[in-house]
Subunit: 194 residues, 2 copies
Amino acid sequence: MLEFAILGLLHEAPMHGYVLRKRLHETLGMFRTFSYGSLYPTLRRMLRAGWIVEEPADPVAGWNRRAKRVYKLTADGKERFAELLSDAGPQTWDDEGFGVHLAFFSRTPADVRMRILEGRRRRVEERREGLRAALARAEEKIDRYTRELHQLGLETSEREVRWLNELIAHEQAEQRGTQTFNGGSARPTHTEDE
Amino acid sequence: MLEFAILGLLHEAPMHGYVLRKRLHETLGMFRTFSYGSLYPTLRRMLRAGWIVEEPADPVAGWNRRAKRVYKLTADGKERFAELLSDAGPQTWDDEGFGVHLAFFSRTPADVRMRILEGRRRRVEERREGLRAALARAEEKIDRYTRELHQLGLETSEREVRWLNELIAHEQAEQRGTQTFNGGSARPTHTEDE
DNA sequence: TACCCATTATATCGAGGTGATACATCGGAG
DNA sequence: CTCCGATGTATCACCTCGATATAATGGGTA
């Protein structure tokens, strides 16, 4: 997830790790923050993988151990980002992954967006049903506080499902729109309810 | 947090790690689950600390490496649990800690309950203000999807604050009730709005 | 009886995250 | 000129996850 966010941010411009972390915090701040303890190790992993390169901020001074560095996307890194953008796998359903991916949603392909939203909806519906069941099953056996928390969780899930439904409807409308314009050739409106 | 939950559950009865994990899942299932990869290491940590002891499930067979074990609370473990129950520190404000602590709320002292609820409220209010600010500040610079997510987050925070207010009011009413009965001696109703 | 398989049960590994802390440089306010 | 807050890189101990390995047990069925 961190890798994904870094690739996305470096797409804008090369940056110091420090700046990266600040931008990370601005972009995802409300759902997620990452510490330096994960940032720097991740950057080194990405260097090894070849998604990014580092350059000394001061070319004259060169490479001391704590020299300031600027990180820069490589062609492979861009490819990797595109790959991750098109991933609608299970990680993108959960709170963590969904939040981060959504931050780059306007860059992800429409069909992938749709699959992510539907996956997320399934996830939240499961949670909602779990909470409903827990509340129905127990009713008085469970702790008053736990019941209240379950109740809150249930309402939160219900709200999110409604929110997702609206987003999904909007996406569908948009897709129909663009399809009308470009003629809606080979596969008309197939992947509606998968 | 896992340690806390384990202590709480072992309070009921001695258990196998496996059973512990199932009970954990039942009790906290909707907010949190723990994997074996953290359960067994945590149990060993707790053994070393002396909060629990292990006994062979089959006393005749004794100790092979993979012998079945039953974990049992010690006096120190009970003390430790009481200590954790009375902790209203910052960890108990965040999603994770708050959810877990709430599962044992009926066993936590009334004043600690209050401090936890108030701390949590502060936390959620901060988040709410952060989201409000982000929405106001940007309004059109940010991604449509991010804005929607912020909107959802904002409403969720608002709901939770209201939920907390109700719980807190209920606690206060209850405290006034019991105080009336036992005479409300030395410090009347001091810690109302800290 | 013999066999199969789901459940019960313990254990470890690599990968990745956190919070705290250390170290270093730089620019501006006093 | 000196102190301090912001910029910047780095590491540590500890914790957690998901996947996987290993094995005993008990019940149903061939």
